[in-house]
Amino acid sequence: MSGNRGDRQNQGQQCHPPILLIALLALCLMVISPPAWTKQGERFDPETLAKVFPGAERAGSLAGNPLAASVFKGGARLGYIFSTQDVVGSVGFSGNPIDILVGLSNQGVISGAKLRSHNEPILVIGIPDQALRQFVDGFANIDIRRPGQVREGETFGRLPVAISGATISSAVIGDSIIRAARTVARSRGLLKSVQAKLRLDRENYEPADWPELRADGSIAHLVLSRGKIEQAYRDRVAIPGANFPGDRSPEELYSELYTGLITPPRIGQNLLGAQAFNRLLGKMGPDDQAILIAGNGLYSFKGTQYRRSGLFDRIQIVQGDKIIRLVKPHYHLVGGLKIAAAPQLREIGVFVIPADTGFDALSDWRLELLVSRETKQGGQVYLDFPLTYVLPPVYRIGQVAPATLEQPNQLDRVLTYFQQQLNDGEPALWLRNWRDRAGRITILVGLLLILSAVLVFQDNLVRHQRLYRSVRLMYLTVTVVWIGWYAGAQLSVINVLTFAQSLLSGFRWEFFLLDPLIFILWSYVAVTLLFWGRGVFCGWLCPFGALQELLNEAARRLRIPQISVPFALHERLWPIKHIIFLGLFAVSLHSTILAIAGSEVEPFKTAISMHFIRHWPFVAYVGGLLFLGLFIERFFCRYLCPLGAALAIPARLRMFEWLKRRFQCGQECRLCAVRCTVQAIHPNGSINPNECIYCLACQANYFDDRTCPPLVAKRKRQEERAGKQAAYLAKAGQ
């Protein structure tokens, strides 16, 4: 039982009817209060500052993109403070924002971290606050620029080991801190050493058409209408100038420019076609760059001067403090573009920029188009029109550091997550979870296949009483021990609440995919809910339900008397669970944290996730429920379970009615109603799908001619007849 006990109270559900219904309801209500994390302009009190950035004297306000506040000592900026919520929109396992304040020094070392707010269910009640604080504190002194360099000692510290019992929550927290820190560091230029390692993608080709290259910024675009030129002259030139000759419309296109770095094959090869692109590369030096300039309009970017002088006098490239002139020897005429969906272009040129110009393909540059106009006095006034090019990040390749780390054995497996996270090319957390849990996923899928077989062949199975009984007992045992206690995959009403929340505040798949087992289980529950109603989950896959049933089974074998609740009372106790659910739902719209606290009405966390290792009131509560369950089977399921209530809402949507009844049921015989483990059968013989847990006990009765009274009567008649016949034959044979 590794550190995964804490994972269960999580989400991972599918779009399925109950939740959609709830979501719709919630959307109608729309009474959520905005979460209270940091806002632009927020400042930090000295106490917070001391905690997150020891040694700093003051902090500026949150600003910029991503939001971060500079912290200072004297006049010197030591680094930044930011909230993970602001920077990476960190969402905890509960589907709600986790807000951790992080300090990051100019050197790329985390100075401190402080959890400001979270709604992580396991952390609300299950885990002592101290453990959580220690975990978050543990991120101090982590150097985010030294990916994976886990050194013992003061300087770099060791990545904190996950909080035991809350592994996924810990991973999410760690992930948020590191990711946010790297984002801020990158945006504020603290990761220069990392940036220096970046290089231009000169290898990767994938087909793309013109609109795609335009959309992702591979090709930049500038449109200059006459009106725009006029406006620029009015804005940027003080000297009163003459108008353009003639009465041209201000909308008329004066010049239109496209430009882009075409050295990356994804741009160049798509634009020029493989043949022309390779020919171009053949003419270039290994470190030269090539750009495309194409244009339309009255004003040619090429002009005619270059034919005589060799200089393209209307365009220049500016990068930082460099001016790069484009000259004829570096110009390559391009007949036409090979790329799909390209616009009509009057002029197309490819320019090679030699490496000795100092041009840096990874940095921003601008193409300046020089336009001139005559003034009233007869002189020429020139003006530049810049087209800025920012290389899309997809063409920047980070040198992936070789994975030479030694994994200290004593570190929890979650450390591996962090290290992978720290390396470049971070795989998504959820993907890693799925990969790392392949074994468990396989077992769970196997279990679900067995259950599916049970459901599909239920008629055949229940005909064999002993087989049915042993399959059911075994399955319930596996559900408690493996799904519940080992894998921690107990679904909870919290899942429903967080799912509804996520629909309100922005649904993200990756979020629900975080825990593969929970996700798979919810998917399965969603499907079986549609087919057979909610009972499949309650009766087969709920670990706590299974635990109650097994204990009650034991109690019966020990001849502990069972209490049969009079139906009239029983029926009136049902609504309690629905009220609990609706109450929790209403509370969750106001405060998830409160709803999560309220969901402690579920004994799942104590009994399943935390193996009863908890404060005594919780254990006493669960003990009480289980004790009652010895006399009233599945006492909790019947009257209290909010998850069952939530699932019962769409139970009437079920498509299959496979539970068989006889016309005598409820008329002559109420045996099934009496034997039903949850008393879900009305005295009139009908099965209440809101209550039914699909245990198939009534179906076992149905086919058993030693149990089902109509069948017994029939059998007896037959036996009688056979007896009589035998007696008659015996007599006749005398």
Partner: protein, 320 residues
Amino acid sequence: MKKCGLPTLTRRRLISITAAALLLPGGATARPKRFEWQGSALGAQAKVVLYHPDAGAAEAAITACLAEISRLEDQFSLYRPGSALRQLNATGYLADPSHDMRRLLHLCHLYGELSQGAFDPSVQPLWQLYAGHFAGHPGTDAGPPPDAIRATQRQIDYRRIAIGAAEIRLDPGMSLTLNGIAQGYITDRVADLLRARGWSDVLLNLGEIRALPGRSWSVGLMGDNPSLLLTDAAVATSAGAGSPFAGPGGPHHLLQPRTGRSAGRYSLVSVLARTATAADALSTALYLSPPERAADLLRQGGGQQAWLRRPNGALWHLKA
């Protein structure tokens, strides 16, 4: 022309302005902070004041500004070794001139025409004559001999700067100074750069002062001149006493091409214009032009207001 050659900061000190941001009401969102960069551009003290909530963004903007200033100094500086201007002066020829060089020389030509030759970037040989004379005759107040001045004057004519698209040529013996306009031009380029990046609330003082749209800035001009509120406009000042060749009251850097002598009509001229280029060029041109030309010059050159202070202290306020 204005200050050339000697790294004297006197003029800067003389015209040092007091720029204070007036917090305009209504800025309720973020709380912008003041960020200031001080350094030197074109041999003079320079300052960039930005208001922004975030230091990182301010720093990035200032980095971009400095790159732009450096890029243009490589073009226009008389002091920077290897600058395009020094190449041009040294050889009388500049191949593949940058857009900026062409733009600025065309503007010089324009202000030369407007000022009927009072504004002339080719006055540099005259400045060199004066500088050489006073270096060789320390303690004297008298300028170079008249025949030397006359000989040098023959090399001054902005119309003989051949501004081609692919090359720029000077006649033999000619050399240029752009110090009467380049600071304004650089200020405008930096302003354009910042505006393109979405900045407002910026005050640039790169020799000339320009405020980007947004905040208003109170700029106190030259001591007892009235201070003015600068919003999306530029102001430039020329003061002959700022960099005299010798003692106070003697010849100074603002030399008139026509007479070959320092101009003495004003002690100081400040011009308010929408661009720093216009303000810069006009303050020089007005300083060197006769008063009867002032109104036309201000209007045609794109100026809005001018403050012309006579040596006796009288202030003439001119509006376009």
